[in-house]
Amino acid sequence: MSREDRIAAKVERRAAKAEARLGEKIEDAYDESERTMSHDEACRDSVYSTPSMLTQIGICYMTQMKRFTKQRTIWTVLTLLIAIPVLYYVFTEVLTVNGAPLIDPHWNVANIGMATVLALAPVITIFLSTNLCGAMLPQEFNERTAYLSLPLPMSRFSFYIGKFLSGFTLVMGVTAMAYGIAIAIVLPNSNLAYTSNMFSSLMTMVAGVFFFCAFSYMLSAKSKRGATMKSLLILLIGLPILAFALSYVFYTVNMDVLCPITGYFPCFIPDVAVMTMGTPQLSMMSGTASLYGMLNAFGVISALPGFELCTDTVVVSAIAMILGILCLMRGYHVISRRDM
């Protein structure tokens, strides 16, 4: 079966499912409506001028956001947000280990509590970024909707950036709401809060989200099937392992001065962001739910010579933003030359 036949079959299956879901059949019959307006009433002689590039970026942005609201995406996002307080309740009230809850809900400092509530943030932000931004462009090309959009009097740059901004906005919004939920959960139970650290953590996380979205988007620009899994594996596992391996190599060949570079890898930004507020306190292990967090909890990181996570949030955020912009530029270079 050729690729076109597979796509056509997929579209037909979706139409059949939609029809079954709605319980009504749309007959491919022509209605007999005549044109109801005169030539002048229908504005058939109007001439329109193309709006500015900024306006067109905004149109693409809003159109993609509308698509998100009509897809399962928005429900996935809402589920993740609702899961935070639910998981918190389960881990503090329901699940216990040796009589003690998995998460001790009594915080002296709110920041520690927030860090604990957001322990899953590294995994979730990467998951969300890759799923949203890694699938948009391949979906357009696979479903052939790009054949409608790209011939329009709109530069590919507007199309590219408009869609990216919508994905990034959604992930950033989820991240900010997660922080808000964490604050709402933790503040009633604590006596002290360092708000500057919270703000710094949020900004660092946003920079990390920007990089993850841009990286996934860049990989998807050339991909035919989507870059979700590829970017997920690279960000969650590949880049951290590379960083650990490089720090070990630099240490072994007596190039210690280069070891700190590995702590600046952007894959560790969520860990840096969370740990800016403090180390998550979980009874089974303390640390973030990421490869770095788990290895750190089991003492592997401390045994790894040369590796040290960067704690300067400004530097790490700046690196993430710069790398994110470079990823976007690279992705645009690919998409501007992609033949349909």
Partner: protein
Amino acid sequence: MTEESDAPLAIDIKGLTKSYGSFTAVDSLDMQVGKGEFMGLLGPNGAGKSTTLKSITGLVRPTSGTILVNGIDARNHRKAMTHVGCVIETPECYQNFTPGEMLSYVGKIHGVTNRELAIRARDVLEEVRMWEWRDKHIGQFSKGMRQRVAIAAALLPNPEIIILDEPTSGLDPRGMIEVRETLRNLKERGLTLLISTHILKEVSEMCTSMTMINRGKTIISGDVNTLIHNMAQSERSITLDIRTLSVMTPAFLSDVKAMTGVSNFERTGEKSIRFSFFGSDEEQADIVDLVASHKLRLLSMNETGADLEKLYMKLTEDGEVNVR
């Protein structure tokens, strides 16, 4: 210079080449579409028709050559496509959108004002017979219905140039007829149309001019009727079948064979003959006079002449390019 050669061109392609690695899809193609012209782009599968249209509309980047749309370089995509509507290779619309939402997206990109967006959307949906389904999700539509929505999107911004790649593809016979009617209406409004199609009848009935390409090269280009007429003249492809009421005499048969423009003479029965004829209309009328002079009483004279199908088959025979 005549007025016709001074007329501005809607689409001007010079030396267009598109290569995919070692494979050349379009090879130094030249093509001009005048303003107000209705051009059909013909060719077998893999000839380079879609690649040519995609190069015009910015879906592929040409390897070399120039394309001007309304005098604007196609590389300046935003400007070049400002007054152009197109449907290339059965585009899909967003499945979860309604036709109204899709047209809103397309219209805003073109700069259709909010006030006129609803008016224009209604007008074009009525034109393609999709007004009744304006609030249904496109994902529920058949292929033909989606094609009609795509055509509506192309017509929405009142384009000066319309480029359609096999516009009747996927449509049932009634849909085909209605799309052709729509295209005729647009032609009467003075729009420039460029369609690529496999259906020769569409070209012969609707198009004023045509370009035939094969293996990425232009084979022939010009006015449809002129090309067919020239082919008929040069290829001697008119066949005359004559039937008489009386039995044809040997004298009559030898007189016919001796006439100017007669070849491939064949007696198909006692009262019927067939031959190829490439003479003028006057010489053809002389044959009728000859039948009368021999008192044979002409029953019928059928002319099966050259048509677009024969021209197409002749120029693309054996998959070889017969460049003229």
